[in-house]
């Protein structure tokens, strides 16, 4: 082996250089998120119309769900009114909403019923007790000449200072994922 490397040192370097760069990029990309996580799971809601995307859905979720005294509360939302006077009714009757429990250790979500969600003790704060928060960011996708990927999306991350970890939320890899308003963070599960 040593003899081969000595004889073909330029060929070995030709292959080694890109491999070293790939290794460094992989370390920079994956290592910070490998050791960063929250100690608390959280619940969130998504909202949508079955046939088209509604940009007001997130506002609907904000009005519909709130955390009061550590428990999820469902509020009455008035439909068929036009509070902002833009000539369109504020909320659609046909919205379907879903609530999900996100396990941060496994980074997977599962849908839960409203009754299940109401059993959790929740923190109404946007950061967990360790200061980690859920933040959204628009990712433009790879667009470096000559490789234009063109797939942009809006993704959510666990974030604290400069540490970030991408969350695999329901719908995050499918349609509508490039709309930031499709997701509503309800609260951290504190027990």
């Amino acid at each position: 082996m040593k003899e081969f490397i000595k004889k073909n040192i330029t060929l070995v370097l030709a292959f080694a250089l890109p491999i070293i760069l790939i290794a460094v990029v992989a370390l920079v990309a994956y290592v910070p998120s490998m050791f960063f996580n929250s100690n608390y799971n959280f619940i969130y809601a998504t909202c949508g119309n079955e046939t088209y995307y509604s940009y007001k859905c997130n506002s609907y979720l904000q009005k519909l769900y709130s955390v009061v005294n550590g428990k999820l509360t469902v509020n009455q939302v008035a439909l068929n009114i036009d509070l902002d006077h833009d000539g369109e009714i504020d909320f659609d009757k046909n919205y379907s909403t879903h609530i999900f429990f996100h396990d941060v250790k496994k980074n997977v979500s599962r849908e839960i019923t409203l009754q299940e969600a109401q059993k959790f003790s929740l923190s109404g704060l946007i950061t967990d007790p360790d200061g980690v928060n859920v933040s959204g960011q628009y990712d433009g996708g790879t667009d470096v000449f000559p490789f234009y990927n063109g797939h942009s999306s809006y993704n959510y991350y666990l974030e604290k200072n400069k540490s970030k970890k991408r969350l695999n939320l329901i719908n995050s890899n499918e349609r509508y994922s490039y709309y930031e308003r499709n997701f509503y963070f309800i609260g951290w599960v504190v027990n």
Binding site: T10, A29, P32, D139, K162
Partner: protein, 331 residues
Amino acid sequence: MNKEELLQDLWGKINSGEISKEEIASLLKNTEPTTKEISATKRVSHLPVARMLYAIGAVIVLVGIIFFIAQIWDDIGSFGRILLTLGLGIVFVFLGADLVRKQADNLIGQIFHVIGGLLIPGGYFVLIEELNISTRTPWPFTFVFGKIFLVYLVLTIIQKVPILTFFTIANGTAFVYFLVFSIIDGIPYIDDEIISVYLTMIVGASYFFLSRAFQNTWNSKLNGALYLFGSIFVFGATFSRVFDSELWQFLYFLVVFGGLYLSIYLKSQIILVMSTIFLIAHISYITSEYFADSLGWPISLVILGFIFIGLGYASVNINKKYINSTEQPLQ
């Protein structure tokens, strides 16, 4: 020792009996070209025409295939589309491999490899599209180019044909780019553009190492292309850093002078020309950035003009003195 002195010396040695006339006759007989060698030389001299015809034929075949596939594209269904692109590409590669195996010095096998090599990546893209594989991340393309790279690597090791090495390098390059973009996809704190610049520098440097490894081997025909793309990748990528950083503005001089040294070391006119072009570009940038306002544009232009003439003169002299001392094809 000139010719007359040599002949005189030789005559003296014949007269003294040190060398016999028969020995000289035998030596001359051995150096005369044989009939076989003469016919080989004639065949080689005809090769450019044959090569041109092969190349034109390959282009016509490829254009014909593309037009034919385009005409019937909507009517043939998914399976037909995959078969006509990827399937046809694989068939051409197999035919090429078989022809190269049977007639190693015949170009026809390599032409089949060219057609196959151009069809296969497109064929895989069709396969991804037709199977509805999600392309939200670059991973599917990474796997495609990785697979094609490995196939060509094995083929070129077995068959030792430059065109196969070319496709190995081309697909390997695409694979490395897609792999890096796949890794950094969705990582918000990594700047795609900076990574691609450093990756391009590394790929260019790899091309230089490959060309050094290929010298005096069956792959040496690829050296011209490797020098050209290596120079463009290294000098171009590095030059893109110059606009953001004063450190790079200084380091870039080292890079292009390194390029000039490399051109002498590898005896490459291409690297010499590219280094000179990028040195001129850098000097022009530095002049416009730092001296145009203080000296004024007309004076700067005059100075730049003289610098260009000086660099051109130096470049020609480097070429004459260190690179092109013997007649060689442009490398």
